[in-house]
Amino acid sequence: MSALEIASKLLEAVRTSWQDAASMVIERERTLVKIWNGEAAVVQKWKTVDSYLRLGLDGRLVVLELSTSDPGKIADEAGSIWRIARRLEPSEIYSPLPQPTVQRMVGKAGDQGVKEFMEDPSPLVEEALDEVAREGGERASGTLSLELYRRGLATTAGFEGEEERTLLAFHLRAFAGEGSGHWSLGSTRLDRDGIREVGRRAGEIAIMSRKPADFSPGKFDVVLSPMVMGNLMNILALMSSALATMMGYSFLSKYKVGDAVGSQSFSLYDRPRDQELPGGALFDDEGVETVDKAIFEGGKLLTLLHNTATASRNGGKSTGNAGWVMPRAWNLDVLPGDVKEEEMAEILRNGIIIMNNWYTRLQNYVEGQFSTVSRDGALLVKDGEIVGNLGRVRLSTSLPRMLSSIEQLSRERSNILWWEVEIPTRSPFALIRGVNLTRPEV
């Protein structure tokens, strides 16, 4: 039975008890190789069916997430929660499911190449590890994930949709002496050149970051790699969700659409229709046709991300980003600049290139204050030349300040997807002026 057929069956099982309902079924087949010191730590294979229901009852909003495809179990759970739901008050984020503009959507964008390597992905891993070794890397760890994904959606408003996609996610961290380098790739297709590029980049950065350098904490001009930008753009995308602004999780609650938030160089798009980034969708979880859109353009906030309910609270229309409760981005795309990547150090002149980060934590979401820690190559640049690696330093600033201080962006961009970048993000390198860098005084 297809994902849509299962979703339709689930919808039939619950539609009589609820005022409106949406039923989504996601089938996944996935193979993941976890690489440890250049070998497989474990190979994992999953085949799962997960079912999701969004149920409306006189303005009350109920969501079920069950790891099953059994209509009987879903109906039982829906019945049990109906008895609880009827005692609740209406929700301020409930809206009737939208009437579809297109009643049926079917898409098939799976890449046969991804499917072929799901049984045994070891040749792909070995190609990337060869690149690490060629660059001089001594060992490498990472993950290669190949996935076939089918999603079916049926709603009581009359929408039916089904799509099939493939996904490749790969990241590798290489080590050379005290140096390390990390790079990643997210793709809809089997991109063997991209896989080798991840190995090459990881090895290259590891070699580049072997030589230690010292610094005193203070304000620096920095270049952030697409890995770092990917992480920060993911956080910005979460804050761009209209619900985040309602719940105290976004500094954008202080801004209106049209306000200048970032520098004119900065534009961020949500691109569900992108053919390369693997987070895309033809329709959102309410059956609304997705569209590519600017969240920020030329530094101005152009839209928050909405589902039907958050949009109607603001007197507007869904942006095709449902999330039944929380609107969210599909794929992120930071527009490029016109500087060549290899010229970034020269333009920076004196400062620090941060190649990777993690553990970004907000001190205050409403102000956007955060800090994040570098983990692979914080490269000190003097007179346009990389002179050494500062190791693990902390970048501490606020998102509005950072966005308004973006001065240059590289022409080349990378498609990032890894542990700290869960929404696939295409990003350039970014040069940002006057950022606080700290580390403990020992």
Binding site: A41, V43, S122, V325, Y365, S371, V373, T397
Partner: protein
């Protein structure tokens, strides 16, 4: 399930582990006293882990008919073969005495008996208390969510483990924002434990919210800039607990020490040869103990069938015993100490913490601060992070005060403490007897696994620590 073990063994597997797990729960989300949504989550399935030809393979399915289970076994065998082929140095599982047991976490009052009306009422009371406690500031957001979760497992292994368990948990989180004249302050609090509906009473959320809102309003409106100098620092239990989790628990996970998590959660400043090395003062005794009744990280047998026990991660300042599962124990020629946990049926068991805490001292809080002429007390935090080897860490204080002449004095806004793990434990000169635990969800692995934990400790004193103000 036994048939799967027999079949896996017959096909050459050196180890077969079959785990059935069922999770079910409900959650309510509220904002400013109004219900936004009600949700129900869960699922059941079987995860199969195989050791074959020196490689480990894992597969899972949530279709529980015979043919799907057989298919999952085939996938696990095939995955193990691929893993074995990619490995030059073959892996294995330590030889252990595994358990046969059935247990459950005690509920004094059934979680299922918690009515939604009661939950809504309690959340509204908490919000009202916070709002009423404010004199000048505005409570612009009070977001409240509460979830119940029941986790049932049946674990069988080819070397004889048979463990059945049932653990109910209750968890609440609150995010509130205070505003006044363009200033804002944000507080995130969590409450959690294993057990039943009685937990909701034990947490006293309503009282905690009244006190937090009142104190934090004063910090926001009257807080002075922190001193920019080295001074004696008193850290509250909440920060101490977090520090134990981040700078003791994580670096003492054997899979990090050996590099298995290098590309995800990172490695560790602890290397195998550093075990036994002194890292802190004699007060630095940190324990991880899954057997604490009522705790978030409660279990009596781990997900490889090994009996749970308390482990001293650091003992009187010495790096002592890393957290181990059977694969890591095999690699270093030791025994597992029962630290393997999996998030759900679709997750491989990994080396995880449970309830990690600094052993309390014997002093009172007053004794801890009485001889501090000029210092800083940081009771709670908002932001924190730590590097990937768990050495360079940072905490930004939320509720903080100057200590002057042995007494808590004026409030302080946003003090920043950046300190190394070595300095944290090396400068530990005092701790009181007031042990308190806090809940959290610990992230690790790929695909990412969130595991319920507690972390805690007493109030502590650190000597001569640098404090700074928050930058821009």
């Amino acid at each position: 399930m036994l048939g799967l073990i027999d079949e896996g063994s017959r096909r050459g597997a050196a180890y077969v582990e079959v785990r059935y797990q069922a999770d079910s729960g409900k959650a309510i989300m509220m904002r400013n006293g109004r219900v936004l949504s009600l949700s129900s989550f869960g699922g059941e399935g079987v995860g199969i882990r195989i050791l074959l030809d020196g490689g480990i393979g894992f597969s899972s399915t949530n279709s529980l008919n015979k043919s799907s289970l057989r298919e999952a076994l085939e996938r696990a065998l095939s995955a193990a073969r691929v893993a074995g082929r990619l490995k030059r140095r073959k892996t294995g599982m330590s030889d252990e005495r595994v358990g046969k047991a059935s247990y459950e976490a005690l509920q004094k009052r059934r979680i299922d008996d918690l009515s939604v009306d009661l939950l809504v009422e309690r959340a509204r009371d908490a919000e009202k208390n916070a709002r009423d406690a404010l004199k000048e500031a505005r409570l612009s957001v009070f977001a409240f969510s509460l979830s119940s979760h029941v986790q049932e497992k049946l674990l069988l292994t080819s070397d004889g483990a048979k463990i059945q368990s049932r653990i109910p948990r209750l968890y609440a989180s609150i995010n509130f924002v205070l505003e006044d004249s363009g200033r804002t302050l944000q507080r995130w609090r969590e409450f959690g434990g294993s057990g039943g509906a009685e937990l909701l009473d034990e947490w006293k959320i309503e009282e905690e919210m009244r006190e937090e809102a009142s104190n934090l309003e004063v910090v926001m409106l009257r807080g002075i800039s922190p001193p920019n100098e080295k001074l004696d620092l008193v850290l509250g239990q909440e920060i101490v607990g977090l520090a134990m989790h981040e700078s003791s628990g994580h670096p003492m996970e054997a899979d990090r020490i050996l590099g298995r998590e290098a590309a995800q959660a990172g490695e560790s400043f602890v290397k195998p040869e550093r075990i036994g090395e002194k890292i802190g003062s004699a007060l630095a005794t940190v324990i991880d103990d899954p057997t604490i009744p009522g705790s978030m990280g409660f279990y009596l047998y781990d997900d490889e069938g090994i009996p749970a026990r308390a482990k001293h991660l650091y003992r009187e300042g010495v790096i002592w015993e890393p957290l181990m599962n059977r694969e890591m124990a095999f690699m270093v020629g030791r025994k597992s100490n029962g630290s393997a946990r999996a998030m759900n049926y679709a997750s491989e068991p990994l080396v995880r913490m449970s309830n990690t805490y600094l052993e309390p001292g014997t002093m009172s809080f007053e004794e801890l601060i009485e001889d501090i002429y000029f210092g800083l007390y940081v009771k709670s935090y908002m932001e924190w992070n730590i590097d990937d080897i768990r050495w360079n860490q940072r905490y930004v204080g939320l509720e903080s005060y100057i200590i002057r002449n042995g007494e808590i004095n004026e409030p302080v806004r946003n003090p920043v403490i950046e300190i190394t793990t070595g300095d944290f434990y090396g400068k530990l000169v005092g701790k009181d007897k007031n042990l308190k635990f806090f809940p959290g969800t610990c992230g690790k692995g790929e695909p990412h696994q969130g595991i319920p934990v507690w972390f805690g400790g007493p109030n502590v004193r650190l000597r001569n620590v640098s404090v700074r103000a928050l930058g821009d």
